[in-house]
């Protein structure tokens, strides 16, 4: 449904004629993010300033038009998909790094700043921004804050919410506010903490103040092969059980390793059941000592072909394999559906074996790449969209995998968000009272329901949720 011409005209007055796009062909570009489902917006508004964002939201509120803020569109849960139409509020033009304060070790950025650009700019001061999603070459800090994004190095450093000090936000009435800031304590409720990760459903983000960390003087990266995922998982627990929390602890299964090696020639052992990528950082004494301890623990747990990166370029190559793993999987099938679930770390072997069985049942190849230290798994269902009825199979398999995650005491998403993709599954882990508490928050911030509607909360009109069988029992068994 197109917007009323008066609304479009108002939007054009705010951002300029060229910055409102509403021709069907152009709209199609913004139909999707990096998830499966798409929906056309009625208009795309390219904002350049906080004032413009505020004015656009005001117009939307007045006319009861949905607004969905959008960064780079790399999200994996449909957070930026305009499922109820309305305005896609594109902030990628707001890409100024306003300030890097090397003394305070903070940066103030606009939401469209690309994650990696911030770390590159900070590097001039010997600093870096810790959360590093695999899409960091493209994804924006605004999107990261809206989704509370993670990344491989979050094992030690924490996720986005641990690094956002404050934000300038636009509420659903178009008013502009700062929440928190660079003082370590605020007075009153922690609105900033609630807004980070709220997936654009409570506010639009127009500035973000983040913490920067000192680049560690020494980094050691090690690759180890294991005969099975179980063995690798036990090695992970053993490392952490020794009191060592590495900066990153990543695992790839045999399917992934095969594809990555064929693509990157990074020297991954293709016969391995699983490959672990371990990284520690700190002062040289510390990394030398830690990597020696880790080497021993991995060796004691069936690890073989242990290899430490000897040069920065070797390290980069090892990481290129991990961060580019999803792309490399294109060698197996042209399409993929990347899932995200998180379980208590000790449950990883069990849940991965369940995931494998589900893949076999649906006759779909599944490749696993995951943040083993966090218990955050990413089963990747590979398929060819040209096969008849394949999406039905893919979605069925994905849903069963998530059920397995929940059965093992896990949560629906570790870092991708709920968005559109998983909103129907929320009752699997949250009771009506839990969801009601979240609804109260939503209603306080956005009583009119214009901010990114159709996300996070189950929408009965879209999907039927089956709370039965083993999953139902698992939920009942939860002590809370």
């Amino acid at each position: 449904m197109a917007l009323a011409s008066t609304v479009t005209e108002e939007l054009r007055r705010i951002v300029g004629r060229e910055s409102v796009i509403d021709s069907p062909n152009d709209l199609r570009i913004f139909e999707r993010d990096a998830s499966i489902e798409g929906a056309m917006p009625d208009a795309i508004v390219l904002a350049s300033t906080t004032e413009q964002v505020a004015a656009v939201v005001k117009v939307a509120a007045k006319n009861k038009v949905p607004v969905t803020p959008r960064g780079a569109g790399t999200g994996l849960s449909g957070g930026a998909v305009t499922i109820r139409g309305g305005i896609a509020l594109q902030v990628s033009r707001m890409r100024r790094i306003i300030e890097i304060d090397p003394v305070a070790q903070t940066a103030l950025v606009e939401p469209g700043v690309v994650n990696q650009e911030l770390s590159l700019a900070a590097a001039q001061h010997g600093l870096f921004y810790a959360p590093d999603p695999s899409s960091q070459k493209a994804c924006t800090i605004g999107g990261n804050a809206a989704e509370n994004s993670g990344g491989p190095h979050c094992l030690y450093y924490g996720v986005t919410t641990n690094h956002v000090l404050g934000m300038e936000v636009v509420f659903a009435d178009g008013s502009v506010h700062w929440v928190s800031g660079d003082s370590p304590e605020r007075v009153g409720l922690d609105l900033c903490g609630v807004l980070v990760g709220s997936e654009g459903t409570l506010c639009a983000i127009t500035k973000i103040k983040v913490r920067l960390l000192r680049i560690p003087p020494s980094i050691a990266t090690m690759l180890a092969a294991f005969p099975t995922i179980e063995a690798a998982s036990q090695a992970v627990s053993a490392v952490i059980g020794r009191g060592i929390v590495p900066a990153a602890l990543e695992m790839m299964d045999n399917v992934t390793v095969g594809a990555v090696e064929a693509h990157y020639h990074a020297g991954y052992p293709t016969d391995a059941g699983a490959v672990l990528l371990v990284e520690v950082d700190g002062v040289p004494e510390s990394t030398t000592e830690l990597i020696a301890s880790i080497r021993k623990v991995l060796g004691d747990h069936e690890g073989y072909a242990l290899r430490e990166a000897q040069t920065p370029s070797e390290r980069e190559l090892l990481w290129a394999g991990r961060k580019g793993a999803i792309g490399a999987l294109g060698r197996i099938k042209p399409n993929y559906y990347l899932h995200d679930g998180v379980v208590p770390r000790s449950r990883l072997p069990q849940v991965l074996s369940a995931v494998g069985e589900i893949g076999q049942h649906y006759r779909l190849p599944v490749a696993n790449v995951f943040h083993a230290g966090d218990g955050n798994l990413h089963p990747n269902i590979l398929f060819d969209l040209r096969e008849r009825d394949i999406m039905h199979q893919v979605e069925g398999a994905g849903e069963e995998m998530l059920r397995a995650v929940v059965e093992f005491g896990g949560a629906l998403s570790g870092e991708h968000g709920i968005g559109l993709e998983k909103s129907a599954f929320m009752p699997w882990i949250f009771s009506p009272d839990d969801l009601d508490a979240m609804h109260r928050v939503k209603d306080v911030f956005d009583a009119g329901g214009i901010m990114n509607p159709g996300k996070i909360f189950p929408d009965p009109s879209r999907k039927t949720v089956h709370l039965a069988g083993r999953t139902g029992l698992a939920i009942e068994a939860r002590w809370w």
Partner: protein, 377 residues
């Protein structure tokens, strides 16, 4: 359960240093459901409820306008589940921090929370107040490792958020909503935490050389996990990590060795009257230099927080607060004589988002039964 024994009531009125019109009923529920029911009943009768854990932060905030029911969480003191392999622990809110640390210690783990006015804090109390200690420098506050929460709401419902996994973006982060809300939106009944392995090496050192020493230690290649500076120039630093790296750093600093007991001793600190100054960390020195002559304080310069033992008149407190707020910081009274709290207010200037906070309060506690008058709204 209601306790009416006057001996038990005496001296237990939490929150208000002044006399109350009528002794409040004391409730000590044994289950979360019982606690929720107490809130539901209080909502129905419009009774004011003052939740209490260990009572270590009873002086924080404005004096409650009313207190009909003192709601103690101390009988909710179980460890619900400690999964050593996952390094996750779930506890009821009334458990004492020391009891939790003891349980974790058996598995070589710990929660990096070391608040002042210890011992005796409950976990729920610490979450409600948001209090922290020296280890905040490395580990952040409980906000950073609180991964799940269960809260009894004034309508009698029990709402959970988060879970028992260390990384989770399923639904709104309501852990943040209740952390530091001083029990004004609901009463925390259970919480789950990401816990940490005891470090390979843990060393403490001290110096008498004040700011210069503190700044040098903070710039060391291995950052201290805690660094405390005192108004008399004493500096305490703690390093954790791989033995070689810690030994080298400590060696290069050349400070005197300090015993580990300095930390629990330091954590006992709680003057009669004290306030917490929080500012961007590069402003802290200037602010502390401007305190009245002879002022006693201790600070975490790497964080930007200082605790000031207030022994001065109302005007001086007002001046300090004005200076602190000028750099977007805050001066919050942790405990102070009633006259001072009344004269300057416990919290200072409310944030410009106060209206949203009030609406959140209204959404969760429409009858205003929880801690009326104690928080900023």
């Amino acid at each position: 359960m209601v306790v009416n024994d006057p001996h038990e009531l005496r001296g237990k009125a939490v929150g208000s240093p002044g006399p109350l019109k009528k002794a409040p009923a004391v409730e000590k529920p044994r289950t979360a459901e019982e606690l929720a029911q107490t809130l539901k009943d209080a909502s129905a009768s419009r009774s004011a409820v003052v939740p209490a854990g260990g009572g270590r932060a009873r002086g924080m905030g404005g004096a409650p306008e009313r207190c009909d029911v003192e709601l103690h969480t101390t009988r909710l003191d179980r460890v619900l589940e400690h999964s050593q392999a996952d390094m996750v622990v779930s506890v009821e809110a009334g458990i004492a921090l020391e009891a939790l640390q003891h349980e974790l210690g058996k598995a070589g783990q710990f929660l990096p929370l070391d608040p002042f006015n210890s011992p005796g804090h409950t976990v729920g109390g610490l979450l409600a107040t948001g209090w922290t200690g020296p280890l905040r420098l490395r580990f952040g506050s409980a906000r950073d490792y609180l991964i799940g929460i269960r809260v009894a709401l004034p309508d009698g419902s029990l709402a959970s958020a988060g879970g028992r996994v260390v990384k989770n973006v399923s639904g709104y982060d309501l852990m943040k909503l209740h952390h530091g809300a001083l029990g004004t939106l609901g009463v925390i009944v259970a919480a789950s935490f990401k816990v940490f392995p005891k470090p390979l090496h843990d060393a403490s050192v001290e110096s008498e050389d004040g700011w210069a020493a503190a700044e040098r230690a903070l710039a060391a290649p291995v950052t201290p996990v805690a660094l405390e500076l005192f108004s008399d120039g004493r500096v305490l630093a703690r390093f954790m990590g791989s033995p070689e790296a810690v030994k080298r750093t400590v060696g290069e600093l050349g400070w005197a060795h300090a015993s580990h007991s300095v930390w629990p001793e330091h954590a006992m600190r709680a003057p009669q009257s004290w306030g917490r100054i929080a500012v961007p960390r590069h402003d802290l020195r200037r602010i502390l230099d401007s305190l009245p002559r002879g002022a006693e304080w201790w600070a975490s310069p790497g964080v930007g927080i200082a605790h000031w033992s207030i022994d001065t008149d109302v005007d001086a407190v007002r001046e300090v607060r004005a200076a602190v707020e000028a750099v977007h910081g805050s001066l919050v009274l942790m405990s102070a004589p009633e006259e001072l709290v009344r004269a300057v207010g416990a919290w200072g200037t409310p944030p410009e988002t106060l209206d949203v906070m009030r609406r959140l309060k209204q959404a969760f506690d429409p009858n205003g039964i929880l801690n009326p008058g104690r928080f900023v709204y």
